[in-house]
Symmetry: none
Subunit: 418 residues, 2 copies
């Protein structure tokens, strides 16, 4: 059943086309629909224009079984969603009395005048189901026309979300007898690039039809989403497990987690499990590592603090890095990184010290190219781990990659303690 359904989302509003807001509605709806086993094939955005709206409806009608429409249902002359749909279908429009009553009560209660244009929001199509909105006035409208189901909702995210949760999703689940099982799993990797990962898995990926395997890249990390199509959860899980085994046989050493896990959380939990605390000495990252740690709830259990020592004299004043060392090796060096990690550990009385020094750019520093980064870790057994990297990209990217790399290095260090 699931396999045949095709859904799409139409978002109506000139403010979207002017870039005043992002289409977060479509993203939110798509995620909920994916979880419910309803595949979304298209998103469209169109302005408040009768001809263009009608053409978008006509196109959707030709290719989809379920069409979600948000926006353009308000009280103003600009709101033309109903009119465009009527253009295509010829369906009649009538006032929904329950909605009118709700509206009258609302205006009376808030001591505001109910202007005539407000009544427009109660207009629905003959034969439609009308769902009352628990967070606003405009109702949700569901109408079936020529074997396609149209679901209309206001564009205000809060109202759309409550209508989706309370009415639209339950209506669809019931109508299509869908069972709400999870058909996909995300495998998260670190320390391997997107293209290398795909190179290693090329044949697995291309020979795979069910489950499918899709790569998802983000800065300094890569993930694979395995999506299985099966009538029941057990069967989907089995298909996913089999595919996962094929993948980990090749690149399992880079796998660090699943679904919404992050490398930051993994490191956090490993520190906690091992009852270890950390402090950072940050030059080019300027506190970004510390800030990523403090982002997580309960970080006081594992995080002692950070010394952001952006300038050479701060390295000396705060971390007591000798001027002699800086003169001899420079601040962008293995030697400086090592001393920073050691000293921050002493200053903050932490079990582990980690340091960052390098060149964020633009331009060179002490004869080092932008993107040259040293990370040093002084661990709880006083062992020193030194790393030198070259990142490319702008200032912001180099700093973000450095922080991400630090979590990768800490992850491999901590996972091997057991």
């Amino acid at each position: 059943m699931t396999r045949q359904l095709k859904a799409e989302i139409i978002s109506v509003g000139t403010e979207l086309l002017l870039g005043q807001i992002s289409n977060t509605n479509a993203a939110w709806m798509s995620e909920k629909l994916a979880d419910s086993g309803i595949p979304v094939y298209y998103h469209s955005v169109v302005g408040d224009n009768l001809a263009r709206l009608t053409s978008v409806f006509t196109l959707a009608h030709s290719r989809s079984d379920i069409v979600f429409v948000t926006g353009g249902l308000g009280p103003t002359e600009d709101d033309l969603t109903r009119e465009a749909f009527q253009n295509m279908t010829g369906l009649e429009i009538k006032e929904d009395q329950k909605t009118i009553k709700k509206m009258e009560e609302y205006f009376a209660k808030t001591n505001r005048l109910m202007t005539p244009n407000n009544r427009k929001q109660a207009n629905v199509f003959t034969g439609s189901k009308v769902f009352q909105n628990s967070t606003g006035i405009a109702p949700g409208i569901v109408v079936e026309y020529d074997n396609t189901i149209y679901l209309f909702m206001p564009g205000v995210p809060r109202e759309m979300k409550s209508l989706m949760r309370e009415h639209m999703l339950p209506f669809l689940m019931n109508k299509f007898a869908l069972s709400n099982v999870i058909f996909s799993k995300v495998l998260r990797f670190i320390g391997i690039g997107e293209s290398q990962l795909e190179h290693e898995l090329q044949d697995v990926i291309s020979n795979q039809t069910n489950p499918t395997i899709a790569p998802l890249a983000s800065d300094g990390e890569v993930a694979l989403r395995i999506s299985a199509n099966a009538p029941v959860k057990e069967q989907a899980s089995r298909l996913i497990d089999e595919t996962e085994a094929k993948i980990t046989a090749r690149v399992g050493q880079y796998l660090y987690g699943y679904d919404s896990e992050t490398i930051e959380n993994k490191v956090f939990n490993l520190l906690k499990d091992n009852q270890l605390t950390i402090a950072s000495a940050e030059s080019l990252t300027g506190g970004a590592f510390a800030s990523s740690i403090v982002d997580m709830e309960g970080s006081s259990a594992i995080f002692k603090g950070a010394a952001v020592v952006y300038q050479a004299d701060a390295k000396t004043d705060v971390l007591h890095i000798s001027e002699e060392l800086i003169r001899q090796h420079g601040t962008v060096s293995n030697e400086c990184a090592e001393a920073m990690a050691r000293q921050v550990k002493v200053l903050y009385k932490s079990n582990i010290g980690i340091s960052f020094t390098g060149v964020a750019g633009p331009g060179k520093h002490e004869d080092n190219d932008a993107g040259t980064v040293y990370i040093s870790i002084n661990d709880h057994l006083q062992r020193v781990h030194q790393y030198k990297m070259h990142f490319s990209g702008d200032r912001d990217i180099i700093r973000r990659r450095s922080v991400k790399k630090a979590f990768e290095l800490l992850y491999y260090l901590l996972i091997n303690l057991k």
Copy 2:
């Protein structure tokens, strides 16, 4: 000329249809295009599927003069944007040698293996213009087919943005002889909420048709975009100036800048102009203030560093806050904030010290509610400025608002030096 052009944006990627990410690319591009006088009529999102991609291209071809395409140009088998466009146009694909060379250099420099699938990113259409990407490998490709111009860019926001700014927009401005006049101006305010701003300006906003005034809200700040519609720049500027004067007569005291200016940059420049340096002592913000400063190029001129002292003992060990003070007043107090700002200034030898202490939540700390935040500034004349705030929202919002508030406080302090 401008009036007849019709542009649309196609975003390719299954991750958009699964709701894993929002289509922020389309919003960003639309805003830039609106500023350039190129009207966008549609956004479409389609997955990595050859047949559906081809149908979306065919539709766009039938209705638009300029088609922007992002995503689906990467090295993997999933990336089918080129193939779909070739399906529709029959254009040949060839390897761009300049891109190949850049790629080889990149992989050599970063000591990574250039796997064969990477070469795919250098594939362009015969007759296309190829623009090199200053932030990544994948180039921008522009090709005209049957009187419609197609502009292809990678889906990674950073890469799309740099290609748009550096190549695509200038190319279009030139091709269509669009005059790069500013039809809009953004006024940036701090220290006033969105609803208060709108309340003060209600009649100005609603009586205004040309220019229009649209509020743009973001965390802890608010901005107004004034957009004028006029055939020549001078006329548009005059209309904008008149509206700006009406606005500043009411709320001018909150105005800090225009267009792409940020409060962070304003503070940075004020520090630089006054030859003052700053250091921060951060508890709940965990280095986020420092990180915002280091985000800006040339920050070493004004930034000495930061002591991230997340735990009470770090406050004592690193900043020598007396245990007695902490016992008497707690770490979430005016007294602790004041001592932190004073001590970090001494430790880092800066002209100004700023401190943050408070409760990011969830949950109380030392009997203070989540959202209670103290900021203290010890300025270059040893004056102490103390602030206590209550922010609502989650952990992340409270921390971001605290950092934003600090920039606001520094701004008002520094602007009054003159």
